[in-house]
Symmetry: C2
């Protein structure tokens, strides 16, 4: 028998009429979730409205409070509502920024990520920069000498803003080896991936525009989009990519102009979108007319036997702006990356590059070109992949062995592991404890929403050797046990 | 006898009451100008108001139309009013952008300035990049080898975003040699001056903020500020700096947050602010609480016998953000510059740098440091100064000899001459004609307001040798005469 409960929320001017069917195959929480969701997306409950309190709704619909809690949680996960501490649950309006409220969870990228050098005795698992011992310094010196010999002064002049033409030609065929069809005019050389993101933000994002990001995501991207006044919407991520229905609902609601995504070996989770989801994302991009900025920061570092293609290789509609950094597979200090840019935003991209730094070092562009043309980059990438694959496997083993109660989805590529900590362990507390023992982890606070920031940590296997991996993970494991014990004592 | 004329402009809701004294020492046009100016700045005539037509005002105040025309021209020069083609003269409101209306006069910097390489047979006087033949390539190679030897892989890692500490220390004492007191924490290494401007724009400018620029000014700065949604106000420039009263009036009216200025050897005019005006500008900055971004792109290239100090060296109130490029005195392709940043905006500057490109190449930073520490940069700067001083003198001579009816204020430093063309010669037409003869000039369209863009050209002596200087200027002289003759025939 179907029962209908009516709750009127007069202050906000809408009526909430819910129908709960006890015999329906869907659980009650799901029925509540579905109906409120539809009312919100249809506009029947306007943005800014306050939902009835959990207690009121539970009472009026004759369900347990936990049922309403679950329904509200799902709405929150869909980015349709948000909780305001102490004042209730509100329907998100287009004017709200869909972000975590607590900025103290937002680590400055400079603090943990870049250039910060701990002492020799510290095991740094927080930086995903490659181990300097793997840098091809000798090759670099030889190539540099060749460039100076051949090009002399012209390497030190201002360069064309879009990039040194011979390099763009090399990058065109280089992209081809990843299944990407493009021509040299599509390619823009930039001074590292961060600048690539910043330039696309400059070229496309106006104040108030909606930009989608995965959650969690890379802090540097957040900084670049926020600097343009973008409103950010976080898209939940699963091990095979975003929830497609959730994503379409968000897209319909917010009409983003851009989705910043790392479809392969996502940072920090290591997740890779399935091919089906890649194709579906492109369908959405075409249907709702937004661009995807694909940050392929680690696509080369695939340790599995199956090939993984970039999103761009499936893109027949010029929906994808492709961004590839050479910081991870070559050397970060050279500040080199490139963009593949759809024709309609090329001019704006060129203007943004000029306004940013005019052009990327001509000397470094020439060095990179020789690396590619002489096959050194390919050889080095293969070498790096082998080295990192070994470290990856060791780190997975170490985590499985030392961190009891933790879990992870094996990324099978990239630079990082994203480890779910045992219940009750906060990554921020763990970070502090490990720091005391001279092991540095990244707490899971990559601009994540809700609790995932506290329940996960990112540890990178790219910057440390196998001995340090085992030492570091073993210390983390000990600290995890110490926190568990402390918590147990506190409960007693 | 004093006479009072009253004009009522009913549609806009203000009364214009002017008093014209025939025996006053000021000319009538100046009396009209002064009174309207005071009414506008006091707010008695609100922004957006339409002034009476020239004919009406002339009739009502019993003066010639040319008197009113002159008064309105002065108001326009003060940025208080603007003409709308075909609909009259309007009082500028805070919402108007105080810029030239005709964007076709805005050359893309990339087009003329950077990286564009003409054929061997072309004489390029448009680029102010230094002559590659003067680059210290051999020194560079030696220093690079030393750096690789000593620092190895660490030169290729991510760097601290604010810059490589030993370099910042070197830059501190380097700045001291220009009379600037600062400490290493004030110094931020950036990837070229354009990035320096872009970072300060990111750190300080929100959409709708007023930013002052000199007119004419450097296009790349305009691009960076416009990209942030700044409203730009152009400050007229005289050979000894901005008109101080004009400037104070504009500052009072628009309350800028930033004034982007090149007080020494200004680009393109070559003007240098007098010390009095430098000090006055700093007084204004303190009084009205704005910052000056001093772009010291060519301060080293002083060919006169008197020392010229940067604005920053007079700054006791942290009003000046100092920006110095190494593109002109070292090599543009290295993309190196530095900022000296007042404490209150340091954090925002660091964030903006991270969001822009994380850090500047550690390798290049190390090379620059060695250049400074080993005295190579100083030696090279002296060498460059001598070389360019000779070219400068030759170019001044060539202009005086070959361009009849032209004139210029001798800059006595820098990289460029700003030449006023003979009456009736348009720099855009001259540009086209010279291009046909394979000589490239910069028409005076450096985001200039009004006619100055057509009446002047910029020619650079930094990128060409003496022979080419004479060849080039002689061809320009011939084309000037050809245009004069053509104009004469058209009049007949």
């Amino acid at each position: 028998m179907a029962m209908t409960f009516i709750t009127k929320v007069i202050s906000m001017g809408f009526e909430l009429e819910l129908q709960i069917d006890e015999e329906h195959e869907d659980a009650k929480y799901f029925q509540i979730y579905r109906q409120i969701r539809d009312l919100i997306t249809s506009g029947a409950i306007p943005g800014g409205s306050k939902l009835p309190s959990i207690r009121t709704l539970a009472k009026n619909t004759d369900v347990n409070t936990s049922t309403v809690v679950n329904a509200y949680k799902m709405l929150e996960k869909d980015n349709l509502v948000y909780k305001r501490e102490g004042s209730g649950t509100f329907v998100l309006s287009k004017d709200d920024e869909v972000l975590i409220g607590n900025d103290t969870f937002y680590f400055e990228p400079g603090e943990l990520e870049f250039g910060y050098s701990y002492g020799e005795d510290v095991i740094d698992l927080s930086s995903s920069a490659p181990d300097p011992n793997l840098f091809p310094i000798k090759d670099f010196k030889n190539v540099m000498d060749e460039v100076l010999e051949e090009d002399g002064a012209s390497a030190f002049m201002y360069q064309t803003s879009t990039g040194y033409l011979p390099l763009r030609k090399s990058l065109q065929s280089y992209s081809g080896s990843y299944g990407i069809k493009c021509n040299e005019d599509d390619i823009y050389v930039v001074s590292g991936a961060q600048q690539g993101i910043d330039i696309i933000a400059k070229a496309m994002v106006k104040s108030g525009d909606y930009v989608f990001v995965e959650t969690p995501t890379y802090c540097g991207a957040i900084a670049a989009f926020k600097s343009r006044g973008a409103r950010l919407v976080q898209v939940s991520l699963y091990p095979d990519g975003p929830g497609i229905k959730e994503l379409e609902m968000l897209v319909k609601q917010f009409r983003p102009i851009l989705f910043y995504a790392m479809p392969n070996f996502h940072n920090p989770t290591g997740y890779t979108y399935s091919e089906r989801k890649k194709r579906y994302l492109l369908l959405l991009a075409r249907k709702y007319n937004f661009k995807v900025l694909e940050d392929d920061y680690a696509g080369d570092l695939n340790f599995s036997t199956s090939r993984i293609f970039p999103l761009k290789s499936f893109d027949n509609d010029n929906s994808v702006i492709y961004l590839k950094s050479f910081s991870k597979i070559f050397m970060p200090g050279l500040r080199l990356a490139y963009l593949i840019v759809p024709e309609e935003i090329r001019e704006r991209t060129a203007d943004a590059k000029i306004a940013s730094d005019i052009s990327t070092s001509g000397l470094m562009q020439r060095v990179l070109r020789k690396y590619i043309e002489e096959g050194i980059l390919k050889r080095h990438t293969e070498y790096l992949k082998k080295e990192l694959a070994v470290r990856y496997l060791e780190m997975v083993r170490a985590v499985r062995k030392c961190i009891r109660g933790g879990s992870l989805v094996e990324p099978r590529g990239g630079l990082n592991l994203w480890v779910k900590l045992p219940n009750g362990i906060s990554s921020v507390e763990l970070y502090d404890k490990c720091m005391e023992k001279k092991v540095v982890i990244s707490p899971g606070i990559f601009y994540t929403k809700g609790e995932v920031g506290l329940t996960h940590m990112r540890i990178s296997f790219s910057g440390v050797d196998i001995e340090k991996i085992w030492q570091g993970i073993s210390i983390i494991g000990t600290e995890v046990e110490n926190i568990k014990n402390k918590n147990r004592i506190e409960i007693i």
